[in-house]
Symmetry: D2
Subunit: 283 residues, 4 copies
């Protein structure tokens, strides 16, 4: 059993001595760094760090003390988490179920540092499956006319279940700018193409039509600009002229599952920093 | 040593019995099929076949007889080649030299079923290297004003050296529609992105700016619409936030070399059929 | 909807005219080939073919007629299947559940041309999960002393459920030579290494100890020689020095699932021929 | 242009505060860390770090001061290099030339932080090519009887050219334990299989015989136990039943070139630490 640790993600204007000041602060409090990784973007002049340590003192107060130090003394943006945290996650889904099952099974197997709080869907298709997994299922239909109202209901579910992350497991509706702002937590989407190629609808049809020899999947943070958010993870697989659209869809399912899962895992392990519509992923 | 064989690529309207009629024609002349692969595009209703056989009769006359049979009796578009053919290839290059060296060394090693006839460049940079390889080097500068005239000179070189294929080893000029028509042979280009993502100039800069996690390279037949031609081969490699543009360029070089070489090899092995701006690659 | 087709896998001593004779037989009965692929092993002198066609006559009698033709007139070993066949599959499992869930969900989604008939396990761990999927669960404990008796019980389950294929979803017992002979159907196993590297027990521990930079998974037909059977499919993933054994196990799970599923799918699609402890996979 | 930096690789018994003490030492001398990465092996209790900084003082004396600090005060094993170093490299080769050309062209292109000092070969085959590249070529034939004497001659060449690294570009002779000890510098070998699979001779023949679906290449430091040294880098490519041994050799060449180059580059960039017959690669 690993002892509980504190994980801090910091970023801000680069300045000499940051690595030294952070590591010395931790050392001088008698604590022990178990992982530290940093990155400087020379063009943007930004410093990024993920540092993880086992505190010698009481863990919550040590975490709070570091947060204050990084913010006040270093002038950095900082977020602090404990390795024992298990933030709640809301799973959005429509009818397509491969990412739905895969995500739930990974949470059940202990692969994810979080817990699934509920399933939200615009269809009833997966209600029984959700019940079998013991997960609350919220059926919130969405039509053009009812979209704003439906998003109010979704926001209410997110709030009431205390979700700190929303994951869109092939949820086939675009979330509005307002929703993303009011959700108050990050949203991870899986797009079934190698972005920026084939953004928008029916990417496998687009890929087939263009005659590409490789297809892909992209997990990204959702933003108001559809398919334009910061990319977290991507993967690809080879296709050939024999593969019709159903083959692309079948091959793509495996890509979507693993890319989506990897992105959720990296997020819950506090390994991602976002800036300038890009991600720094400390893996 | 393999005995010489005939390779036919045929395509045309699908109809029952094509596989049987082709294989029976070959069998009844006492010849032996060593490879046969076919594909039907059900949407387009087109049949494609690559068939390779060791003729019992005189090879040239057997090849001509098949050509007539496939064309007149089956009503197919057909092209016939001999496994002993070594078509001449013209290599276009600018200053960047990794695809230049790699391509030449592969031809020298016997990996390619063709022979390099000459190097054409808009710069003198690689003249000495070409000479060291024993290859004729044609320096044909290209400016906006001289472009049509330069293309005339390039076409003259292609004709006089008898090239049956032009390969653009990071040749940094767009070939005009007229050039492609008058060249009278296919042109293979290597684009340093995973098309259709990042078409146009500076794809590594575009990829870095978008924050993708994978970069790619694409070999395609050149058409008048830049970066829109039929894709032959693609490959990708993983990058991360640490990789600055020079890293992308370095990693990309390896991709470009292998993707470009693979496309040239497939073409010279008579494994590619083009239709509807796509390729059928019988590998 | 595709019309029902016949799929034949034939192999035997190579002889001139095989492609022609097979395709002409089909053509002359008014049927239409939709897929044909062949391979010759020049060293072994063996011809292999997968041919799929839509019969004009009654499908069962056409299939039987072809079987007789290929066997009696061509002297080939032949197996014939219908595209509408859904052979029954027995799933063997122990406690580890990722391949178990993944395989069942793929059968449920219609990805596999077969149907799961039952689950056999030496532990009760997954009994409830099997019940939730509506699958009969046979708990057959295995100890050193009871092994022969347990295998009798397993064979009885296979017979009574009519399984035409056994798949070992991380079933942690070695099947005896006698079992494999009496089962009367192929057995597909997933081994969690890139065979022949790290055969035997605890391959992820072996891989970690050797310091490899890539790990793999291998699906193969089970034979009396453990981990020595004909390889159907393999895949790999990259690791680094940071990855401890639990990371290898986690990363390996994704490999095992997709490699195992791919092998089962290829088998049920009648795409695999076995000879000389190798496979010809017509995909 | 990047300013010159110091790169230190340190490793030794883990102890609290190492990250802090190293970074503070650098900070307090007014220098600026541009890269720092560390790793702890919890089983072995060893701490590893690569740290790179731009010194404020005179670079050689700063490097020497750090070496003393890490060694005397921290009790770590340390090696220090400058980003401007261009260590000399001896290239060993036999007759097979793809890694030979590829390696030389990469050094010429500036991809490698070193310089090729000479070529050593047991055959004269590549003498002309070496001359064309302007590289000294030492023909040292090796027979069973002359092996010790030949190694003396090789050691003399290494010494006289001042090589700090030997790279075996498909050099087809086993180096003796004595040679490796007396060479006084690391030796990188490329083996044309995915080790530990298919160690020893003719790995592509072994792979073909076993019927694997993927082949690989492995770059490792040479040790007295052939093919058992610490692995630096590996890569693989997919094959199928159609691929005969010449296809494996052709496909393998591309793997060998890129895996070998990557290993040399990582070594010359001071990114590799060796312990317990494994490598820590800070890339």
């Amino acid at each position: 059993m690993k002892p509980p640790s504190i994980i801090a993600l910091i970023h801000g204007p680069d300045q000499p001595g940051l690595v030294s000041r952070v590591s010395s602060w931790i050392f001088l409090r008698g604590s022990n760094i178990v992982h530290a990784d940093q990155h400087e973007d020379p063009e943007a002049g930004i410093f990024f760090q993920r540092v993880e340590w086992i505190p010698s003192g009481q863990i919550e107060s040590e975490a709070a003390a570091f947060e204050q130090f990084a913010s006040d003394e270093l002038g950095m943006t900082v977020s602090v988490a404990l390795s024992t945290d298990r933030p709640k996650v809301a799973l959005f889904v429509s009818k397509i179920d491969h990412c739905f099952h895969d995500t739930i099974l990974r949470f059940r197997s202990g692969e994810m540092a979080g817990s699934l709080a509920c399933v939200v869907s615009n269809h009833e298709t997966l209600a029984d499956d959700a019940a079998r997994y013991g997960l609350p299922f919220h059926h919130i239909p969405v039509t053009k006319a009812s979209k704003a109202q439906a998003e109010d209901a979704q926001l209410e579910v997110i709030r009431s279940c205390g979700a700190k992350l929303v994951v869109m497991a092939r949820y086939m509706q675009v979330l509005s700018d307002r929703f993303l702002k009011e959700a108050g937590c990050p949203v991870i989407n899986i797009h079934h193409s190698f972005l920026p190629a084939f953004a928008g609808g029916k990417p496998y049809h687009q890929a087939h039509s263009r005659g590409v020899k490789i297809i892909g999947a992209t997990a990204h943070y959702a933003t108001a600009d559809l398919d334009e958010g910061p990319i977290i993870h991507q993967d690809v697989t080879r296709i050939n002229h024999r593969n019709a659209i159903p083959d692309l869809i079948r091959k793509g399912r495996d890509l979507e599952k693993s890319v989506f899962a990897q992105a959720i895992r990296l997020h819950l392990d506090n390994r991602i920093l976002v800036y300038n519509n890009k991600t720094v992923v400390f893996d």
